[in-house]
Amino acid sequence: MASDAHDLKKHVRIYWMVFGALAVLTVVTVSAASLQVSVGVAVFIAMAIAVTKGSLVASFFMHLMFDKNRGIGALLLLCLIFFVFLMAIPSLVTFEAINTVNVP
């Protein structure tokens, strides 16, 4: 029980450190938006920061980091890869082809 209380106190310290990191990353997100870069780079930076923040919440607040079953983390990583690919599809598709109408 003593070690449980000690572990929990350690976790509580981690939670506040993660909060600090999330707050800093939020400020970084807003600051990065003022950079003069191309749209693609801006999207990449914003989403990279959002994924980092999401990973911190999932790992520490949702306790994935402390989960003995690593399969869940691997599955989430797979979902993330597919999500990134899904979001990138529009830039890979030529909209000229979609909007083409064959007039007889």
């Binding site: 929990l8 506040w16 999932a58 607040f61 949702m62 529009p90």
Partner: protein, 171 residues
């Protein structure tokens, strides 16, 4: 899956929009980055208070847990008040509604659905703070697990906002 589909819709609409037709920047979107950032910080703090409530229960302190749940609830209500009073109301007053443009249609859909998830979380947290906390006396471990599950839902709602904020307000 629901938000994933809507994010996909946003991307397709944004990429497929004619050049110059999609509003960019605060002057065209009428979205305040400061208000968005405030709401982001509010949700981050609410995630901390939610996990602190779980930690308090693991340390067998129901009083402290109730306090942290009350803080989570207050922050959630504050988020909704900011959203409705400082974001939605001014837009409606200036006739900026979902039917105004594709951007506003997807903006109100995404943020409205996220807001409904916040309302759902408020209902669940309020239940476990008040009548639901009776389970603490009969089965404390089960009650702690229920708070952990509520926390998982709440952290997910926070996580979705991490992607909504830069997508709608900054890009």
């Amino acid at each position: 899956m629901l938000f994933g589909g809507l994010f996909s819709a946003y991307i397709l609409l944004r990429v497929g929009a004619a050049e110059g037709s999609w509003p960019v920047g605060a002057e065209e979107t009428h979205l305040s980055v400061n208000i968005g950032m405030l709401n982001t910080i509010v949700l981050i703090i609410s995630s901390v208070t939610m996990v602190m409530a779980w930690a308090a229960l693991k340390m067998k302190n129901i009083g402290q847990a109730r306090g942290w749940l009350a803080a989570t609830l207050a922050l959630a209500v504050f988020f909704l008040v900011v959203k409705i009073v400082w974001e939605y109301a001014p837009k409606f007053q200036h006739d900026l509604v979902p039917a105004t443009s594709t951007f506003y249609a997807i903006y109100f859909t995404l943020t409205g659905l996220h807001g409904l998830h916040i309302v759902g979380g408020i209902v669940v947290i309020a239940y476990f703070m008040l009548p639901g906390s009776a389970m603490w006396k009969s089965d404390p471990e089960r009650f702690t697990n229920r708070i952990e599950c509520t926390g998982l839902y709440w952290h997910f709602v926070d996580l979705v906002w991490f992607f909504l904020f830069p997508t709608l307000y900054l890009l």
